[in-house]
C-alpha cells in the first residue's frame, strides 16, 4: 500500500490556486523531502495531508484513508511551525494530553518514557513556560513521536532548532525510516534534508515541478534541482 496517494489535487485561496494539479504516490517506508521556495505551497500541502485543511479539488488518501478519518490520523505524527505546547502545563501533562488524544492505552506511562527519551526527565513536572527554547523543541519532537506514528509530517523541522534538538530529531527520523515508517518533511535546508531523503518533490508556484527518487548528484550539488526545474533564481 502507498503511504500517500494524491490525484489531481488543487487548493484555492479565493480564485488563487495555491496548489495546482498535484498528483503523486509515495510508497511506505521512504522519506520524502518537500522542497520549494516560500509561498510555493509546501505548508499548504502538508496541512492538507495532516487533515488541517481540505483540498479544493482532487482526492487525497493518507495511509489508505481520508486525511480527516480519525483512525488514519491516529497513525500520523505532525510537527508544524509552532511547537504546539501549552506553556501553563508541565512537560508530563503536555505529553499525557496528547497520549490520551491519540488513544494510547497507558497515556501516563508513554508520556513518562518519552520525557526521559528526549532527556527532560529532570524537569518532567516543571511548567513548559520555564523551559529554554531547546528544551521546548525536544519536547515538541517527543509530542510528535509519542504514539509511534507510521507516517510523520514535518513542516520545516530543522529551522530554528538548536543543535541538540537537531540531533535528537535526526536520530529519531533515521530510526523511523529504518523501521519502515514513512517521513515527509518540507525544508529550506537542502543538505540536511537530502541526506535523509530517499525521494524528492519540488514545488514551484503550487505545481509539482519534479518528483522522483533522490539521486547522488543532488547530494553532491543540492542547488542543481532548483537550477534544473525551478525558476531562475
Amino acid at each position: 500500500m502507498n503511504a500517500l496517494e494524491l490525484d489531481q489535487v488543487w487548493k484555492f485561496y479565493g480564485d488563487f490556486p495555491a496548489l495546482r494539479q498535484i498528483s503523486f504516490e509515495l510508497p511506505e517506508g521512504v522519506c520524502l523531502a518537500l522542497l520549494g521556495r516560500n509561498g510555493a505551497g509546501k505548508t499548504t500541502l502538508l496541512r492538507i495531508l495532516s487533515g488541517l485543511m481540505r483540498p479544493g479539488r482532487g482526492s487525497v488518501r493518507v495511509l489508505g484513508a481520508d486525511p480527516r478519518d480519525t483512525m488514519a490520523r491516529a497513525r500520523i505524527g505532525v510537527l508544524g511551525h509552532g511547537l504546539a505546547l501549552y506553556d501553563e502545563l508541565s512537560a508530563l501533562e503536555n505529553l499525557t494530553l496528547f497520549a490520551r488524544l491519540y488513544g494510547l492505552k497507558d497515556p501516563r506511562g508513554a508520556a513518562g518514557q518519552w520525557v526521559e527519551r528526549v532527556g527532560l526527565a529532570a524537569s518532567a513536572s516543571s511548567l513548559v513556560r520555564e523551559f529554554s527554547r531547546g528544551m521546548r523543541q525536544r519536547l515538541a519532537v517527543a509530542r510528535a513521536f509519542l504514539h509511534e506514528p507510521e507516517l510523520l509530517l514535518l513542516d520545516e523541522p530543522f529551522t530554528a532548532l538548536d543543535d541538540r534538538a537537531v540531533t535528537t530529531l535526526q536520530d529519531l527520523l533515521r530510526d523511523a525510516v529504518r523501521q519502515g515508517r514513512t517521513v515527509v518533511l518540507s525544508t529550506h535546508q537542502l543538505r540536511e534534508a537530502l541526506e535523509l531523503a530517499t525521494h524528492v518533490a519540488l514545488l514551484v508556484r503550487g505545481r509539482l515541478a519534479y518528483y522522483g527518487t533522490r539521486t547522488n548528484e543532488m547530494l553532491e550539488d543540492p542547488a542543481w534541482l532548483y537550477r534544473r526545474y525551478g525558476e531562475a533564481a
Binding site: Y13, D15, F16, R205
Partner: protein
C-alpha cells in the same frame, strides 16, 4: 445578456411603480381610521417580504456553499443578504414613521418591529464578520456557518418575541380585514420591489466575482 436582463428588470419595475403610485395616491381612498398614512403599508409590508425572501435565499446559498464548496454560492449569499438588509431597513424606517402617527411614538417594542430589528442585527453581524476575514475561501466558510446559525435563529426569535409581548399590553395594530383592493395593490407593489431587489442582487453578485478576480491578481502580483 445578463446586463440587458438587469436593465429590463429595472424598466419593468419603474413602469409598475409609476402605475402603483397612481393607484395608491389617486384611486384608492384613505383608510377610514388611519387616514393617508395607511398607504405606507404598500411599501412597508412588501419590503419585509422581500427582506425575508433574501434571508431565506442566503440560508439556502450558505448550505449549498458548504456542500459544494463553490464560491459562486458564497457570492450569491452576500448579495442577497445585503439586499435583504436594505429592504429590512426600509421596513423598519417606514414602520417607525407609521408608528409616529398612529401610536404617537417613534419606537415601540411591537413584536414585528422588534423581531425585524433583531434580524437586522443578526445579518449586519454577518456583513461585519465577512469584513473581518481576509482570505476569501476562509471567509466564505466562516460566513456560511454564521448565516446558517442566523437563519435557524430567526423563527425562534419571532416566536419568543411574540410570547414576550403578549404578556404585556399590546398596542392595537390595525383592526380586522383589509379591503381586497388594498390587498391587490399590496401584491402588485411587491412585484416591482422584488424586481428591483433582484437587479441590485445581480449587480452585487457581479461585483463579488470581480472582487475575487482582484484578490487573485493581487496574490499573483505578490508572487512575482
Amino acid at each position: 445578456m445578463r446586463e440587458k436582463m438587469l436593465i429590463a428588470f429595472c424598466i419593468v419595475a419603474a413602469i409598475l411603480l409609476a402605475y402603483n403610485l397612481y393607484v395608491m395616491l389617486l384611486v384608492l381612498p384613505d383608510e377610514v381610521s388611519q387616514g393617508p398614512i395607511f398607504r405606507i403599508i404598500f411599501f412597508h409590508v412588501p419590503s419585509a417580504w422581500t427582506a425575508f425572501l433574501g434571508f431565506l435565499a442566503a440560508a439556502v446559498a450558505s448550505v449549498l456553499y458548504l456542500v459544494r464548496k463553490d464560491l459562486r454560492y458564497d457570492a450569491f449569499a452576500v448579495a442577497v443578504t445585503e439586499v435583504g438588509l436594505a429592504f429590512a431597513a426600509v421596513t423598519l424606517v417606514t414602520g417607525m414613521i407609521w408608528a409616529r402617527i398612529i401610536w404617537g411614538i417613534w419606537w415601540t417594542w411591537d413584536p414585528r418591529l422588534t423581531s425585524m430589528l433583531v434580524c437586522w442585527l443578526l445579518y449586519a453581524g454577518y456583513l461585519m464578520l465577512r469584513h473581518a476575514v481576509e482570505e476569501p475561501t476562509q471567509r466564505a466558510r466562516i460566513a456560511a456557518v454564521f448565516s446558517i446559525f442566523a437563519s435557524v435563529d430567526v423563527p425562534i426569535v419571532f416566536f419568543s418575541i411574540r410570547w414576550w409581548r403578549t404578556q404585556h399590553p399590546q398596542p392595537v395594530v390595525w383592526g380586522g380585514s383589509m379591503d381586497p383592493a388594498y390587498w391587490n395593490t399590496l401584491f402588485l407593489n411587491w412585484i416591482p420591489l422584488l424586481l428591483l431587489g433582484a437587479a441590485m442582487a445581480g449587480i452585487r453578485l457581479r461585483q463579488e466575482r470581480r472582487q475575487r478576480e482582484l484578490e487573485a491578481l493581487r496574490r499573483m502580483a505578490h508572487a512575482l
